[in-house]
Symmetry: C2
Subunit: 371 residues, 2 copies
């Protein structure tokens, strides 16, 4: 079925659009009372993730309620370690916990490259969502970056420093590479199946990019993200590496269309260092705690900052759980209205249009293009 | 009494020294079995902090055992909120917890500018340490940066996002400024008393710098750090703002002698953006999990990187609790040996020597100086 609103896909490809598209990381979930009703009807977070009908329902909620320009499938990045053989529990208010972890060569025997079929519930949720959305907005699929998934598998849960995971990079880089390679392969297969099921775009979340020193980031994270980017050419791909401000120049070379920016990143630097990428995000999620006037001012500033560069409006992090949904709506509405006005034109300068060609060896072919 | 080893003070002032000085953040504490013996002899962490004889003992331990070039007084940055009227508990394995927090104008009535006399146990610990060290190495005093202290007072403990603290900057900037001002005044008085008691150098730790967007960092953190820097001219001062890589150019303008670098920061950028500052730190604390050969290689690389710039060797974060003290010793030994060798000369290029003048309005007077 054809999409009625494909703004986000066109901007990802560097095309000129009538206004700036907008969605929010973690838009499906905790901020909506409608989500909490469904969440309370099941035994736990994982049951919700694994029940396609319900996952589809909460995926569609922000499209209905908040009027965002894309739906992101309700799931969790930790389904990959689970599909590899390492189960996790989601502990209420504490986060994920892995009873077993990977810390040695022997531990590697506990896991294998994931059979993509094990994650059928995700593809099913995408299919239901696709069917129910009926082309209203595109669906974003996603996965964790190999380094972030590795961190959880080694550490066993969240951590302030992820020093157990980082330790392995110094003590057994060979073993770390083996595990990262297995995660990369698992993730690639998983993303391809999400796309087959109907994902119109995919995003890689490198949530713990920021704990690595820059040289390790290149060596143990970007290297594997790059492999995934090279393998996925079916749909536009976004890489969001939270905290990896130092890697922008390298990320400009990735085979991806869009780069996500957290709220610490300097937009001017991002525009300079990522000339070939559509940019996404950047607003401090705490800005939505301000009053409507402050939100409007922040949106104006943001649109002004990214003026002239293909841009998808979003926050610099997942929306915080205690954000008032009314403020989120106001934010989305402001982006839509203000970006339509003549003060914030879409790129007008000659822009390197990215011609999207899924059959090319390199899906990014640059062509000079005057708007 | 005169100092037998004043390397760190001379490097802080930009003077040429015979080798690179070295110490570790959190060197007094968890990594040493000798510390744990003393820690287990008291009821809790806070009792240790508040007992000057014991605090002095654990302060001196790393000088005896690890052979570092400076002692940092054993204490906690949270003594300031406590002296302001907000008590905290240190929960084993969880971190600090404040039963009461500051979240509104009314809450401000719970606190006042700290009477420096309330922290007599810290000054006493410094005096005992000074006496017992008998000039072997300088003593570093410290305090948290106002923003970091503010974060704890508003949030009530550690947090991944400090979104409650950051929320206030959007919802009640005026109240935030009032609290930050009170913390700044309290901290200035506290540092001055540490110096009177014998601290030869002081360091400001902005542990949660990295959660702020750059414009808020300038507005709500650096602004108050700058006030403290302007008020302290008795001894060299170090500012360590973890995660605030974007603020280097602004930090170069601070009235401080040394800037600390975390392990994410790019040393080349730091040298370029902080030409007037001595630099400190930067090695990934996880590097000490590697074997001795790897540690030596890392030290060589580090000394090579900072060659030609006044530099104090340190990690980019506090040493992690599970680090082998033998590895720490090897690290310290390697810095000392390798920096003595001819391959890693101290700055030779014409360097802007910072003439240290405690009576000048601005303690930093630059003079061209050829080594």
């Amino acid at each position: 079925m054809s999409l009625k609103n494909d703004l986000i896909l066109r901007v990802a490809r560097g095309e000129k659009t009538e206004r700036t598209p907008v969605w929010l990381m973690r838009q499906a979930g905790r901020i909506l009372p409608e989500y909490r009703t469904i969440r309370n009807s099941v035994s736990g977070f994982k049951e919700l993730v694994e029940t396609p009908e319900l996952a589809a329902q909460v995926t569609i909620q922000p499209v209905d309620i908040l009027d965002v320009d894309a739906a992101i499938i309700f799931s969790d990045i930790l389904v990959i370690p689970e599909a590899m053989g390492l189960t996790y529990e989601m502990v209420e208010k504490k986060g994920p916990h892995f009873p077993e972890t990977i810390n040695s060569q022997t531990d590697l025997l506990k896991v294998e490259v994931a059979d993509p079929d094990r994650l059928g519930y995700v593809y099913k949720a995408i299919e239901i969502t696709k069917n129910e959305l009926n082309g209203r907005v595109p669906i974003i699929g996603f996965a964790g970056a190999p380094w972030t998934i590795f961190s959880y598998m080694v550490e066993g849960g969240g951590s302030k420093t992820f020093s157990k995971a980082r330790r392995l990079l110094y003590t057994d880089a060979g073993m770390a590479d083996q595990l990262l390679e297995m995660i990369t392969e698992s993730t690639t297969g998983y993303l391809k199946r999400q796309i087959q099921a109907g994902a119109d775009m995919v995003q890689i979340f490198d949530s713990w990019a920021g704990v690595l020193p820059p040289d390790h980031y290149t060596r143990f994270s970007l290297r594997y993200i790059s492999k995934i980017c090279d393998a996925i050419s079916e749909v536009p791909l976004t890489v969001f590496a939270k905290g990896a401000w130092w890697a922008m120049e390298e990320m400009n070379k990735l085979n991806c269309q869009t780069v996500g920016l957290d709220w610490n990143m300097n937009p001017e630097e991002a525009k300079r260092q990522l000339p070939n990428k559509t940019l996404q995000g950047n607003l401090d999620p705490c800005a939505l705690y301000g009053d409507n006037d402050a939100i409007k001012t922040a949106v104006k500033k943001m649109l002004h900052t990214f003026k002239g560069h293909p841009y998808i409006a979003n926050l610099g992090h997942g929306v915080y759980p205690d954000t008032d949904p009314g403020k989120v709506k106001y934010f989305i509405q402001s982006v839509k209205e203000l970006s339509l006005s003549s003060s914030f034109p879409q790129p007008e300068a000659p822009w390197q249009k990215r011609v999207y060609n899924k059959n090319a060896d390199n899906p990014l072919i640059f062509k000079s293009y005057s708007r």
